[in-house]
Amino acid sequence: MDFIIRQSGLFDIYEKVQAGQRISAEDGMRLFDSNDIVAIGKIADARRVRINGRNAYFTMNQHINPTNVCRNDCLFCAFYRKDGEEGAYRMSLQTIRHKVEERLAENIREIHIVGGLDEQLPYQYYIDVVRTVKEIRPEVNIKAYTAVEIAFLSEISGKSWAEVLNDLIAAGLNTMPGGGAEVFSPRVMRKLFMDKLTAAQWIEIHHIAHSKGIRTNATMLYGHIETNRERIDHLIQLREAQDISGGFLTFIPLAFHPENTRMHKLPLATGFTDLKMISISRIMLDNFPHIKAYWVMLGVNIAQIALSFGADDIDGSVVEERIYHMAGSKSAQMMTKKQMQNLISETGHIPVERDALYNEIVTQVA
């Protein structure tokens, strides 16, 4: 089969990956410029097997989006509302308590909490959301607030980023999601999300979290106006940040969903782009333990195929995902454990139910 990879002109990259070596930004550009997605997938699979063998992870999780009121106006977002606008909501702590309690019977391992930058809510509310969830489910891993939210909480409280993180950790925070990274390009930032963090700030907040023992994820929002060069720059910055701290767990490429956003005229990313993003991230980010094919955003079909193209995680059962569904995602709200196991097994991988830190959940058979 080697000759087919040779024909693609990417054989030197394949050899480097097989030897466990790092590839350069220019190599990354060559991968993006190629349309030979199966050859690229094969190279990514070589990296994947070295890092994760044939394991493919899933988790039983829950998403809570406490508020959709946001002071920012990111062009790519269909989720946010202005205060008082139709469809705006903010959940009381009572509502959040209820949402956690109604799924107490399920073996949920991870609760993912992200929302808007809601200026009408006090600092304490954001801390109490974490505390409330932790009180009801002390054993669950709370993965809460993107770096953008941390910076916002610092701003409204006058506390430093580190102090905000200390308060959240005291309330029960265990890990941090990787959102808000968007694309680390000043050009894209100026056009799409003026008020957000710079790349350096986003990375610094993650580094502070890492120094406190908090593992975090990283994302990239692709499929809008970013160039291949900007994608590669983003990956290189993450790779360098990871070299410094080693605190990142998972990279999640997120496809932009144009529906109901102010960029609705843009087409949805194609299957080629989705698979290239998964594969090239896996190949470039040699120091990231995991690459996730988030099925809610890719759809179940591409998420399944992505397992052969470098991904080793498909996220979880979810239930009530709002952010992508408001942007027109047609995927279901949940998958059962059985569905996730079947989807993985069929691809020749080993389904492994994980907790938030990728420890295997061993189910006791009575």
Partner: protein
């Protein structure tokens, strides 16, 4: 000889034919990327230019009345059923006018096994279309319908096809093949047309100079060796006649059907598509199915052996009744093809490039 991936790879590179046993080995052992690379290699050998074709046509379901009652079908109505219909000429004419306005070149008329419609109905219908829309190709019916019309009109197959052809039928779509194994057809209650009947209609049409396509509906009750059997029956006939222009595998859509069950996965679809490219070495073209798999997987399927994006499908009622609800515009189809690095080209049924 011992079968292994290395020996199969060698045969593929030497352009040797794979046996049924080897095909089955691929279903059981070969991983997705290996199959993609091999199928893509064969596809490039057959179609060295970086072009992907599509056709603009319209499915016109002239009737939904069908006595076959296949349990995987969500479209049919029984005779006298509440929603039973037969389209009249005015309705058909206006659908064809819309098709022409959208750049369409062909109509694909498919309906059911309707006991009220004998050979004269089809002769009149095709004559009507040919005289009013001489530029439109009539690529219509299916072997099941043709065999049924022959039976109720008390004609031989040859006579039936000859009369339809003289009235304007230019070619025959490969629908109703399902899985060409009688055990499966019995379970699906699709055995009004047996495997041999289906193949006999195609053989007869090919001998008379009509081109046809061939389909496979998979992911229901068939075994992997029955999929291989399907490939082998088609390959054998193609060796004799050369009349198939394309193979079109698509996945069973379970919604609203009596058979029910789950949709098969994208992984199964891509592997099956790739194996069909490797097995059907004598069929020139392989269509991807965006209607059942969606735009993302259909595009990816171009690297798993597919060289044709199928039809714009101005109208489709059969698989959409069973839960397939993907829709694409011409602009989207062309963009998906270009995004994959191919030139998009409109074609006709015989794969001549238009414009």
């Amino acid at each position: 000889m011992n079968i292994n991936l290395g020996s199969i790879e060698q045969k593929i590179l030497n352009e040797e034919r794979l046996s049924g046993q080897e095909g089955l080995y691929l279903f059981e052992q070969a991983d997705l990327l290996w199959l993609g690379m091999m199928a893509n290699h064969v596809r490039r050998r057959k179609h060295p230019q970086r072009k992907v074709t599509y056709i603009i046509d319209r499915n016109i379901n002239y009737t939904n009345v069908c006595v076959a009652s296949c349990n995987f079908c969500a479209f049919y109505e029984k005779v006298g059923g509440e929603k039973a219909y037969v389209l009249n000429n005015d309705e058909i004419a206006s659908k064809i006018e819309e098709t022409i306005a959208l750049g369409g070149t062909q109509v694909l008329m498919q309906g059911g096994l309707n006991p009220a419609l004998k050979i004269d109905y089809y002769e009149e219908l095709f004559n009507f279309i040919r005289s009013n829309f001489p530029g439109i190709r009539i690529h219509s019916l299916s072997p099941s319908e043709i065999a049924y019309v022959a039976k109720i009109s008390k004609l031989t197959l040859e006579e039936t096809i000859r009369r339809m052809h003289e009235a304007g039928l230019a070619s025959i779509p490969g629908g109703g093949a399902e899985i060409l194994v009688d055990r499966v057809r019995k379970v699906l209650n699709a055995n009004k047309t047996r495997t041999d009947d289906w193949l006999e209609v195609m053989a007869t049409a090919h001998r008379m100079g009509l081109k046809t396509t061939a389909t496979m509906m998979f992911g229901h009750v068939e075994t992997l060796s029955e999929r291989i059997e399907h490939f082998l029956r088609l390959r054998q006939l193609q060796d004799q006649t050369g009349g198939f222009t394309a193979f079109i595998p698509w996945t069973y859509q379970p919604e609203n059907t009596e058979l029910g069950g789950e949709k098969t996965s994208a992984h199964d679809y891509l592997r099956t598509l790739a194996i069909s490219r490797l097995m059907l070495d004598n069929v020139p073209n392989l269509q991807v199915s965006w209607v059942t798999m969606g735009d993302k997987i259909a595009q990816v399927a171009l690297e798993f052996g597919g060289n044709d994006f199928g039809s714009l499908m101005i109208e489709e009622n059969v698989v959409s009744a069973a839960g397939a609800n993907f829709r694409l515009s011409l602009e989207q189809i062309r963009r998906l093809i270009s995004d994959a690095g191919y030139e998009p080209h409109q074609r006709d049924m015989e794969y001549n490039l238009l414009n």
